[in-house]
C-alpha cells in the first residue's frame, strides 16, 4: 500500500563542497589506514575478527541503502544476495581453485546479474510488493543452493583456507584488510551515487516515480542500475564469508540476521545518505559483537532486540537525523 514513496529524511542539499571527490577518497583511505594501523598495533587477532564482522555489515548496509535509502525500494532479500556471493566464491574455488580475490570479483558479477534479474522481474512492483518479492527470491535461491550438491547442498561446504598469507601476520588480518578495502569501495560508490545525477534520479523515484518519469528520468534504467549495484555489493560482502568461517551451510548463509541488519543499520544511522549506513553498521555491529562476547547467556540477543527498538524510537530519522537540523 505504502507506495515507493517512503518518508525518509530529506536529503541534505548537497553543498558545493560535497561534490569534491578527492578529499573524500583521501579521507576514506586515511581512516582505513588509521584503523588498520591501530588494530595492528594492538596486535590481537580478535580485533580483526570483530572488525571484519562490523565491516561486512558496513558493506551490506551501504548496499541496501543504495536501493532502499535513495530509491525507496526496501529489499528484504539481503541474505539471498549475500549468500549468492558466498556460494559464488565456493563454486569458483571448487571449479578452478581460484581463491578469495577472484571469488570476490566473481561474486560482484553474479550479484550484479542477480540484482539485474530481480530488477527486471520486479520492475512493476512497488512498496511492500517489491519487498516481499525479494523475500521470495531469497527463499527460491536457498532452495536452489540446498539442492545443488556441487557446492555441498544442505551438508554445507568446507573451505580449508591457508594458515598464512604472505605479508600478513595472520589470515584474519588479511581478511580484515580485504573487507576494509571493500567497505571503503562500497561507501565510495554509494557516495558517488549520491552526489551524481544517478542519486538525484533515485531520490526522485523514491518521492514520486510517475512524476520522475514525466520529467525525463529513465526510471527503469536507474532502478536497474541500483538493483545491480545493490546486488553486486551485497554479494561482495558475502564472498569472503566461507573463507572467514571455513565452512558454510545454507542455513548460515541465508540467515535472517543479515536481512534484518541490512535494513536496521541504515535506518538507525540515517537512511538516504552514505554516512548513515556506516554509522548504523558500526554502532549496531559493535553493539551486537560486544553483547555476544560479554554476556554469556541468551540475554545478549534480548538486549540487542531492545536496543534496536529503543534506537529507532528515539532516533526516528537515524543518528544523522539528530545532527541535521529540521529545515
Amino acid at each position: 500500500m505504502s507506495d515507493a514513496s517512503l518518508p525518509l529524511a530529506p536529503a541534505p542539499a548537497m553543498a558545493a563542497g560535497g561534490r569534491r571527490h578527492l578529499p573524500f577518497w583521501l579521507g576514506a583511505v586515511g581512516v582505513a589506514v588509521l584503523v588498520f594501523v591501530a588494530l595492528r598495533a594492538i596486535g590481537n587477532d580478535y580485533g580483526y575478527f570483530a572488525g571484519y564482522f562490523i565491516l561486512q555489515y558496513v558493506v551490506l548496509a551501504t548496499a541496501w541503502n543504495i536501493l532502499g535509502g535513495y530509491a525507496g525500494y526496501v529489499n528484504f532479500g539481503a541474505a539471498g544476495f549475500m549468500a549468492a556471493g558466498a556460494y559464488t566464491a565456493i563454486a569458483l574455488r571448487k571449479a578452478t581453485g581460484l581463491d578469495l580475490l577472484p571469488g570476490i570479483a566473481a561474486a560482484a558479477v553474479v550479484g550484479a546479474l542477480l540484482g539485474l534479474g530481480t530488477g527486471y522481474l520486479t520492475l512493476r512492483l512497488r512498496g511492500v510488493y517489491f519487498s516481499i518479492a525479494t523475500l521470495c527470491l531469497a527463499v527460491v535461491l536457498q532452495t536452489l543452493v540446498v539442492n545443488w550438491d556441487y557446492v555441498g547442498g544442505s551438508r554445507g561446504a568446507y573451505i580449508v583456507r591457508p594458515r598464512e598469507v604472505a605479508p600478513f601476520t595472520s589470515y584474519g588480518e588479511y581478511l580484515f584488510l580485504v573487507m576494509l578495502l571493500l567497505a571503503v569501495l562500497a561507501v565510495g560508490i554509494a557516495r558517488t551515487v549520491e552526489v551524481t545525477r544517478l542519486g538525484r534520479g533515485l531520490q526522485a523515484i523514491r518521492d514520486n516515480e510517475r512524476a520522475a518519469e514525466a520529467v525525463g528520468v529513465p526510471t527503469l534504467r536507474l532502478k536497474l542500475v541500483a538493483t545491480a549495484l545493490c546486488g553486486a555489493l551485497m554479494a561482495v560482502a558475502g564472498a569472503p564469508l566461507p573463507y572467514y568461517s571455513g565452512y558454510l551451510n545454507p542455513e548460515g548463509a541465508f540467515s535472517l540476521a543479515y536481512a534484518v541488519n541490512a535494513i536496521a543499520m541504515p535506518l538507525i544511522g540515517g537512511a538516504g545518505t552514505w554516512a548513515g549506513p556506516v554509522i548504523g553498521a558500526v554502532l549496531l555491529g559493535s553493539l551486537q559483537q560486544a553483547a555476544t562476547v560479554t554476556i554469556s547467556s541468551a540475554l545478549n540477543l534480548f538486549i540487542v532486540g531492545w536496543m534496536l527498538v529503543i534506537f529507532v524510537a528515539v532516533a526516528p530519522r537515524g543518528i544523522l537525523g539528530w545532527f541535521r537540523r529540521r529545515r
Partner: protein, 392 residues
C-alpha cells in the same frame, strides 16, 4: 599460582535452534566443573568455564573463538554441539595449534585433517559405512527379508550423511531404494510426503530427521497408519524427553539411531551419579529432564580433557594431543579411544527400539526396558519387535 584458575573456553548455543542441546550440554559441563573442583581441580588449579552464546549462528563462531584465545587467553578450548558450530571454529583453533575436543561433530575433520582434533561422537571415522549399519544388520535378520527401502532426510548436514549411509549400505546389500528424497527444515506438514512413501510400499523406512520435524513425521505416520517392518533409522528427536512425552505410544516399535540408553549393558561407572545430579537440576534449568542423550557425552567430553591434562601434567598442547591419541579414557559413556583422525577408534552407533510404550509418562525412560538396544551385539539388550505401527 595455586588459585589461578584453569580456564576452558568454548561457544555454546544458548539461543536459537540448537539451544535445547546447547543448554543441556552446558548443564552437564557445569556439573563436571563442580565435580572436578570438588576433587581439587586440575593440576591443582580450580577449573573455570568461559563460554559465550553463539546464538546457533555459525557466523558468530570464528569471532568468539578468537576472543577466547586472544583476549580471554583460555588454557583449553572445547566445542559446542553440532558440526555446523564446530566447523567454523576449526580455522581459528588450528591457527593457534590448540588441542580440541569437540562434541558430536560429524566428519568435520575430513576436510581439515587436523591432528589435534578429537570428537566425542559415536559415529567413528567412516560415517557412510557405519551409521546405518545397525538398521540394516537388524533388518537383514528379519523373518521375511526386506527387499525395498525408502529414504527420507531433512536438508541438513547430519541427516544427509545419515541418508547417504543408508543409501550406500542398501545398495551394497541389494535392497531396492523405492523412494529417496529430502525435505527442507521449514516443512510444516509431512502428510503428503509420507503418503508418497506409503504409495511406494517399502519394507523398510529410513528417516533422517531433526527434532521439530521428527514430531511431524511420526504424527503424520500414525495418522496415515503407516506400517513397515522397520521404521525410523536416523531420527534425532525421539531421544529427547519432550518428544517422548508428547508422542507417547506413537513411538512404540520405532527403531532409531541413538547414543545412549539406560540399559544394563550401558551402565558405565559414574553415569548414574551424573544423571542423578543432572535430573535434580534439569527442571529448574529448563532443559531436557532426562539427560539420556548427549548430556553424558558432554560430561565425558570434559572428562577427556581432565584425564589428558592430569596425565600430561602441564598445558602443553602438543603433548596433550599426543596423549589423547595414545590413551584410553574412562568416561561416563564408557572407555574410549581416539583413532588417527580424532574420531572414536571404534564406532558405537546404537540402534534402539522403543518397546511397550503406552503413554507419554517419562519415568519408564529412567529404567531399562523402554528403549532396548538392538545393535551392536556387544551392547544388545533386547529383541526386535515388528512391525512398526502395531500397538504396544
Amino acid at each position: 599460582q595455586g588459585s589461578n584458575p584453569l580456564r576452558i573456553g568454548y561457544s555454546m548455543s544458548l539461543s536459537g535452534g540448537l539451544a535445547p542441546n546447547g543448554r543441556s550440554s552446558l548443564l552437564a559441563h557445569r556439573i563436571w566443573q563442580e565435580d572436578v573442583n570438588a576433587r581439587g581441580g586440575i593440576l591443582g588449579r580450580p577449573v573455570e568455564l568461559v563460554y559465550y552464546d553463539d546464538q546457533s549462528s555459525p557466523a558468530n563462531v570464528p569471532g568468539l573463538y578468537t576472543k577466547l584465545l586472544d583476549v580471554d587467553r583460555v588454557d583449553m578450548v572445547t566445542s559446542s554441539y553440532a558440526t555446523v558450530m564446530i566447523a567454523p571454529s576449526m580455522p581459528v583453533v588450528m591457527q593457534r595449534n590448540m588441542c580440541y575436543v569437540t562434541l558430536l561433530g560429524a566428519g568435520v575433520n575430513e576436510a581439515f585433517k587436523y591432528d589435534r582434533y578429537f570428537n566425542m561422537n559415536v559415529t567413528g571415522d567412516d560415517i557412510r559405512a557405519n551409521y546405518a549399519k545397525g538398521f540394516l544388520d537388524v533388518a537383514a535378520r528379519l523373518p521375511t527379508p526386506p527387499r525395498t527401502i525408502a529414504i527420507l532426510a531433512v536438508d541438513n548436514e547430519f541427516a544427509q550423511k545419515a541418508a547417504e549411509s543408508a543409501r550406500y549400505l542398501s545398495k551394497q546389500r541389494g535392497l531396492r531404494i523405492v523412494y529417496d528424497r529430502s525435505y527442507p527444515p521449514t516443512t510444516v506438514d509431512f502428510t503428503p510426503t509420507l503418503r508418497s512413501i506409503q504409495a511406494a510400499r517399502p519394507d523398510l523406512i529410513f528417516i533422517g530427521s531433526y527434532p521439530p520435524d521428527s514430531n511431524g513425521i511420526l504424527r503424520a505416520a500414525s495418522e496415515l497408519r503407516i506400517t513397515a517392518q522397520m521404521f525410523g533409522g536416523g531420527m534425532i528427536g525421539p531421544q529427547i524427553a519432550a518428544v517422548q512425552a508428547q508422542l507417547g505410544p506413537i513411538l512404540n516399535n520405532l527403531v532409531t539411531w541413538d547414543i545412549y540408553s539406560p540399559e544394563p549393558t550401558m551402565d558405565f561407572p559414574g553415569i548414574r551419579a551424573f544423571q542423578e545430579k543432572y535430573r535434580a537440576r534439569a527442571v529448574q534449568e529448563q532443559v531436557d529432564v532426562l539427560g539420556n542423550y548427549l548430556q553424558p557425552y558432554a560430561y565425558a567430553q570434559m572428562q577427556v580433557v581432565e584425564q589428558a591434562l592430569n596425565r600430561v601434567g602441564k598445558l602443553d598442547q602438543a603433548a596433550l594431543a599426543g596423549d589423547m591419541h595414545a590413551s584410553i579414557f574412562n568416561t561416563v559413556v564408557g572407555d574410549i579411544r581416539f583413532g588417527a583422525h580424532g574420531e572414536w577408534a571404534e564406532p558405537r552407533n546404537l540402534l534402539v527400539q522403543f518397546q511397550g510404550i503406552r503413554d507419554g509418562d517419562l519415568e519408564k525412560y529412567k529404567k531399562p526396558g523402554a528403549k532396548v538396544i538392538l545393535f551392536p551385539e556387544s551392547l544388545k539388550s533386547g529383541e526386535l519387535r515388528i512391525p512398526y505401527g502395531a500397538p504396544a
